[in-house]
């Protein structure tokens, strides 16, 4: 009897203790002065890739908007943060006073939508999503993305000018509309250079896409990107275009160079990706999130917020202008001067609309029509690319 009593007593105290500890329930922190915004990064904030580009975009906002303050959480993915969900993190950011939350990954789509519908007073920007287009988005959620097709076209362009074997490898992340779009754009850029600058037969251009399964390497879960890059170089693909968030391909290219092989690489996402890899880096198409972020936040502050789908492109006056251009391309030291000239010309043509690579006739991998002869692709057609294009190798969707 005594024992049971003691047991009950101890449990009782244990739970009393637990319930008593959190003393203050959620109180609306009405800090009016600084505008705090939260940033959820899928990878490490210093990954020299996708997440770092976002992180620096946030810093840009802090510089540009007086009183803006960023709080960020990086490595927001179930492998790095087991048991933690997006709504939980949003709660946390809110408690710290965030009035707008930016989620940077396609992977956070469901979570951010859930959080948005739970907190109608807070604004949400989902980068790379399409909830507004599909009509699933609540009023306080908008989508933002950059027209990276152009960046990828430039990437493909320099790759085709550089390759000696005529074989280009594309290190793909997972397969979805976005990644198909980007891989296809890179192919279109490459084919354009191959055909119109080098005047070679497009049939001689090999463009292989290999997917690893996620935006970055998760050991044991995805295919190892380092391994994939190695395979590319070992099999005669002398230029690798990276489509993943992290920079493994650069390291592999450098290693191959040391072994005396021809190896070039076009990384992705982050303006500084080529740093320290001048011997192999042909250039990098990158995101400049700062201006887009500034617009979103200014809209909240001024009360002009709209739940819209925003797809921002390069500033064709100068695609590398930090205050206006969302998409840019910086050339790397490994790119020869002649190629650079062709690239500049190509960019001019794109900007002037003289060249439009997304113009029919274009076919999907299985031969079905993507764009009819002379048809110019609409935003929607580009966004929802259903397959890779004819002429590319690699899976269009899961096996």
């Amino acid at each position: 009897m005594n024992k049971i009593f003691l047991r009950i007593l101890s449990i009782f105290w244990f739970w009393i203790l637990i319930w008593a500890l959190p003393t203050h329930p959620i109180t609306a922190t009405a800090a009016e002065k600084p505008f705090i915004f939260g940033l959820l990064l899928v990878g490490p904030y210093n990954d020299h890739g996708y997440s770092q580009a976002h992180y620096e975009g946030g810093q840009y906002v802090e510089r540009k908007i007086a009183g803006a303050k960023m709080i960020y959480i990086d490595k927001v993915n179930p492998a790095d943060r087991p048991g933690i969900t997006i709504p939980q993190l949003v709660d946390d950011l809110m408690e710290k006073g965030a009035r707008l939350v930016i989620a940077n990954s396609d992977d956070m789509k469901d979570g951010i939508r859930e959080a948005a519908s739970m907190h109608p007073k807070i604004y949400f920007v989902h980068v790379s999503g399409d909830d507004v287009l599909t009509g699933k988005a609540p009023q306080n959620l908008m989508n933002l993305f950059g027209r990276m097709e152009y960046g990828k076209m430039m990437a493909g362009f320099v790759a085709a000018l550089t390759t000696k074997t005529g074989k280009i490898g594309y290190l793909g992340p997972l397969i979805n509309e976005e990644t198909r779009r980007l891989a296809s754009s890179a192919y279109l850029g490459a084919r354009h250079a191959w055909e119109n600058v080098l005047h070679k037969d497009p049939a001689d251009l090999k463009f292989q896409v290999t997917w690893i399964g996620f935006w970055f390497n998760i050991p044991g879960v995805t295919t190892d990107p380092t391994q994939v890059a190695h395979n590319f170089y070992n099999n005669g693909y002398d230029v690798v275009i990276s489509g993943i968030d992290t920079t493994e391909a650069i390291g592999v290219a450098q290693q191959k160079r040391l072994e005396g092989k021809d190896a070039w690489v076009v990384p992705y996402d982050y303006i500084g990706a080529c740093e320290g890899a001048s011997e192999v880096c042909l250039g990098v198409p990158y995101f400049n999130w700062g201006p887009g972020y500034v617009d979103c936040i200014q809209a909240v502050i001024s009360g002009d917020w709209k739940s819209e789908w925003v797809w921002r492109g390069p500033d064709w006056q100068d695609i590398n202008r930090p205050d206006t251009s969302t998409i840019g391309f910086v050339t790397g030291a490994a790119l020869p001067a002649s190629a650079k000239q062709s690239l500049n010309a190509f960019i001019k043509e794109l900007g002037a609309g003289k060249t439009n690579l997304l113009k029919g006739p274009l076919f999907y991998q299985d031969g079905s029509i993507f764009l009819k002869d002379g048809e110019i692709a609409s935003d929607q057609q580009i966004w929802y690319m259903r397959q890779l294009l004819e002429g590319m190798q690699g899976a269009s969707s899961a096996k």
């Binding site: 024992k3 003691l6 047991r7 101890s10 449990i11 244990f14 637990i18 500890l21 959190p22 203050h24 329930p25 959620i26 904030y45 709080i71 960020y72 959480i73 990086d74 490595k75 993915n77 179930p78 492998a79 943060r81 087991p82 048991g83 933690i84 969900t85 709504p87 939980q88 993190l89 709660d91 946390d92 408690e95 710290k96 396609d106 992977d107 469901d110 992340p173 997972l174 397969i175 979805n176 509309e177 997917w211 399964g213 996620f214 998760i218 044991g220 879960v221 995805t222 259903r386 899976a395 969707s397 899961a398 096996k399």
Partner: protein, 351 residues
């Protein structure tokens, strides 16, 4: 439990925690992190508000379920490392059932079935390890580790293959289930009452089973001396299988809750390492039903609270991994110390 024992347990627990803090502090000092601020933020980040407390409970539930399951296997002397895979299998089975429920109007029915399926999935996976042990003499640790890998591989295959989102091949998980197939949760704290209920039910059931039933007694007998237990008319093998079923069943529920209550889909990291963590929890909890949930709570706090480190202090949140590591060391140290005392005076260390 005798008051003296309780005192001793608490003493041990406090000592362990002290060692954990000592280790962590040293590591923090070495890395140059602000020690007090780290503790403060972990504490505030886990128990600083009701919302956070709710998150902690969400982590606590599966952890406790796994820990309860492990108590059975530890009782009979089995190292059920396979608990991780059992969580995954529970999640897989639950997902399989829920997929049928996507279009259905009877979502409650499917939710209920998913729990049963979770139990079945975990139990089957555990039984395989148990069978390999009893019939093939394969050490349960190796069998369990192997099965963990297989379970992970099955999840990856499902996500990338048969259960992929239409048109998409991504390791990020299957299509989100419709809201109707989410476990209902209370508005306050956003905790699912069913989750809470199953955790408490697991604790109480385990306590009763181990203390007051013949099964509990036999598990203990076999665990302490299988040969003698046999002479007492207790066949070790069936009880080993039974213990595995319990462990697998509870972990399967944890896996099911991970799907229905936390992520609402299947993803590669669905188990959130709770299985491995639960092993640690039970060891730190001195294999005791009443202490383990408290330890699980501590780890849940650590897990949730450490998110603050990158946010507030720009520290890598893998520091929480360091704290967990320190806990392992402290637990092992504690174990060694216990053994020493035990060899000194063979006292009442068990209930």
């Amino acid at each position: 439990m005798k008051p003296k024992l309780l005192l001793r347990y608490s003493k041990e627990l406090i000592l362990t925690l002290a060692v954990v803090f000592l280790f962590t502090t040293i590591i923090l000092l070495v890395t140059g992190a602000p020690v007090l601020a780290v503790y403060y933020h972990i504490f505030k980040g886990s128990l600083g508000s009701w919302a956070k407390f709710g998150h902690v409970i969400k982590t606590w539930i599966p952890l406790t379920l796994c820990a309860c399951g492990l108590l059975y296997t530890f009782r009979i002397g089995l190292w059920n490392i396979g608990v991780e895979g059992q969580v995954m299998m529970g999640a897989i089975f639950a997902t399989a059932v829920l997929r049928f429920g996507v279009e259905s109007h009877f979502s409650e029915l499917y939710l209920f079935l998913s729990i049963l399926a979770g139990i079945a999935g975990g139990a089957i996976w555990a039984l395989i390890a148990g069978y390999l042990k009893t019939a093939g003499g394969v050490n349960e640790i190796f069998a369990g580790l192997g099965l963990n890998f297989v379970a992970q591989a099955i999840i990856l295959w499902l996500i990338f293959g048969p259960w992929k989102r239409p048109g998409i091949a991504s390791m990020s998980g299957t299509e989100l289930f419709p809201k109707a197939l989410w476990l209902p949760s209370t508005f306050l704290l956003r905790i699912s009452p069913i989750g809470i209920f199953s955790a408490f039910a697991a604790i109480i059931l385990t306590a009763l089973m181990l203390r007051y039933t013949r099964i509990g007694l036999c598990l203990k007998a076999v665990g302490n001396n299988p040969k003698a237990a046999y002479l007492f008319g207790v066949k070790p093998q069936p009880y080993m299988l039974l213990a595995m079923i319990f462990a697998g069943g509870f972990s399967g529920v944890a896996g099911c809750l991970q799907v229905t209550d936390v992520y609402h889909r299947l993803l590669p990291a669905i188990s959130s390492n709770y299985g491995y963590l639960a092993l640690l929890v039970v060891m730190l909890g001195n294999f005791n039903v009443w202490i383990s949930p408290a330890v699980a709570f501590f780890f849940a706090c650590l897990n949730i609270g450490s998110v603050q480190l990158p946010m507030m202090l720009q520290l890598d949140s893998s520091l929480s991994g360091v704290i967990q590591g320190a806990s392992v060391l402290a637990a092992l140290g504690m174990q060694a110390w216990r053994m020493r005392i035990r060899s000194n005076e063979v006292g009442a260390f068990y209930e």
